[in-house]
Point group: C2
Chain length 333, copies 2
Amino acid sequence: MVSVAERAGVSKSLVSLVMRDSPRVSDASREAVLKAAQELGYRPNLIARGLAEKRTRTLGVLIFDLHNPFFAEVIDGLQEQAHEDGYRLLIGTGRGRAEEEEEVLESFLQQRVDGVVLLSPIVERSVLLGAAQEVSTVIMARHGKLVAHADSVVTDDQAGTRLAVEHLIGLGHEAIAHIDGGEGASALERRLGYEAAMADAGLTELIRVEPGSFTDEGGHAAMQVLLAGEEPPTAVLAGNDLAAVGALTALEEHGLRVGEDLSLIGYDNSYLARIPHISLTSVAQPRSEMGRLAFDAFKRRSANPNRRATRIVVEPKLVVRGSTGPRPSGAGR
Amino acid sequence: MVSVAERAGVSKSLVSLVMRDSPRVSDASREAVLKAAQELGYRPNLIARGLAEKRTRTLGVLIFDLHNPFFAEVIDGLQEQAHEDGYRLLIGTGRGRAEEEEEVLESFLQQRVDGVVLLSPIVERSVLLGAAQEVSTVIMARHGKLVAHADSVVTDDQAGTRLAVEHLIGLGHEAIAHIDGGEGASALERRLGYEAAMADAGLTELIRVEPGSFTDEGGHAAMQVLLAGEEPPTAVLAGNDLAAVGALTALEEHGLRVGEDLSLIGYDNSYLARIPHISLTSVAQPRSEMGRLAFDAFKRRSANPNRRATRIVVEPKLVVRGSTGPRPSGAGR
DNA sequence: GGCTTAGGCTGGACCGTTCCAACTGGGAGG
DNA sequence: CCTCCCAGTTGGAACGGTCCAGCCTAAGCC
């Protein structure tokens, strides 16, 4: 910067002003500085700037699992909004381990990020509380109690499964089973939505929750059990798309046609559901919108760090595809 | 840091030494400093450290497409190795646009990363050359001429399609078609491998390359054309898994059983291929190993920035699943 | 003509570290 | 007893920017 200043015949303060697009610089000096910078191949040092400004215009994003396409889309939304506002994203992952997640978070703080966005974190609540005290914090896709001074963004999973059940009822189905997602807050939410919707439709007696998991093996095994029973359901609501695909395999093994002999619904509207060969009716969460909302929440909180913790709930949508159809005549009840 | 020093009754230089685990500190002072730091909730400022040390122990990783699970696994390997060595990863994406990729790269340089890893970048060659001059650069999954002062890590795609063709020939197939991946260096490599393997087996006359793309629509359309022809192939090698899944849909529409009436092979051994419902024979690239190799290359180059550009080629493997089987008797030739 | 105002610019303190040359005190060696 | 050495420690100069108070000059106003 000093070399640029010398070459342009001005002070380094002025170079600094030009680099930051200050309006109170004459056109002549601006041009001279830019020319000198160009000639010297000068590139501003964001490290030094960060030190002097005491802020980095950087957001730390902690992702539970890089492989899950869900997160990729959330980051898309986040990145888009952040980029527009001149923020950079520092992405890290604890690769599914709480301990590593904590390390990554600490490293974000040491790097003095202006805020952190935690995507489905599994660290203990106390860690979240600690983070929220240090820096603007947004927690995504984690249900449970609010964390003081942190905002959270979640989807209404109960509403999601309710949509699915109502769609099936509209098609004439009554014996609708649910393949549970196992432990974890979102599996619980999804199950509650299913049960409530069934009860509201007067189908309490037909509620059937089969233990499973969020994996294809889990969905496969659960569907096996359902089909082996005396009165198999005419429709099944899987915990997520992956489990639904596992269930699909089981149906094939039994020679049943999905969408005709039995209707199947997934959850997440992932990439998988969209494949024509699979064509799965599924509940969609507005992922990139969630990313945008998270960034907005961050901005609001950095403007006013002491505001109350908020929870932003977004509504899921049902995407109907080929895996659901009318109740087969004469089947079950 | 000064406060910690005062509280511990030592100089800030000594605090600095303790924080960096220097061996030339007495146990007594070390303990006193750590105690004071603990009590004050002191957290080292990596920004200031980066400024003073003139290096950041940070690697900029530019990803072509966050959604592609291929990249997630490469990053896994990279992250593992980097973490072990005390490096952090700064991840960014140009979201498929060359112009944005350039911006992200420039931002990495302004942040003074110690190196950059470019995953399948689409920026112009001149940009790569420029980056390589500024900082240790590793280019991944991009074929083509070597870039001066940069190392590259690629898979041998020609060998990959060759493996696939040889597997099919071993099963008795002769009329083996290839669905091309469209433009781009890797589509070219894959096609060349196919053609060479066919020629080597004396099947030059049966070489058939159907234009397509790396998407499911592309695979679907190409398979339609192949099946509509007079002498449809008994085996098809798709450009990647996604195209193979599209082809699968076309087969279904024609009432053909995959693995029996026609054999199908994908490329990438993605998540999709592993789904039981799909069960696609596919060519696997050692993704996380590629990530580790990229980090090694970075380390070597930072130790010696002027070493010659190298190209590290890793060998693909064939993963056989249910979509390939013996040539149906009496079919085609 | 003198006073005020404002735009444009500057010098130097500061941000929180690392680095380096130099200092100290006690033990070993002659 | 003096010198040398070395482990342990220290003060102050970087690192490359931003920030702020203040300076200069020319224009505007009465």
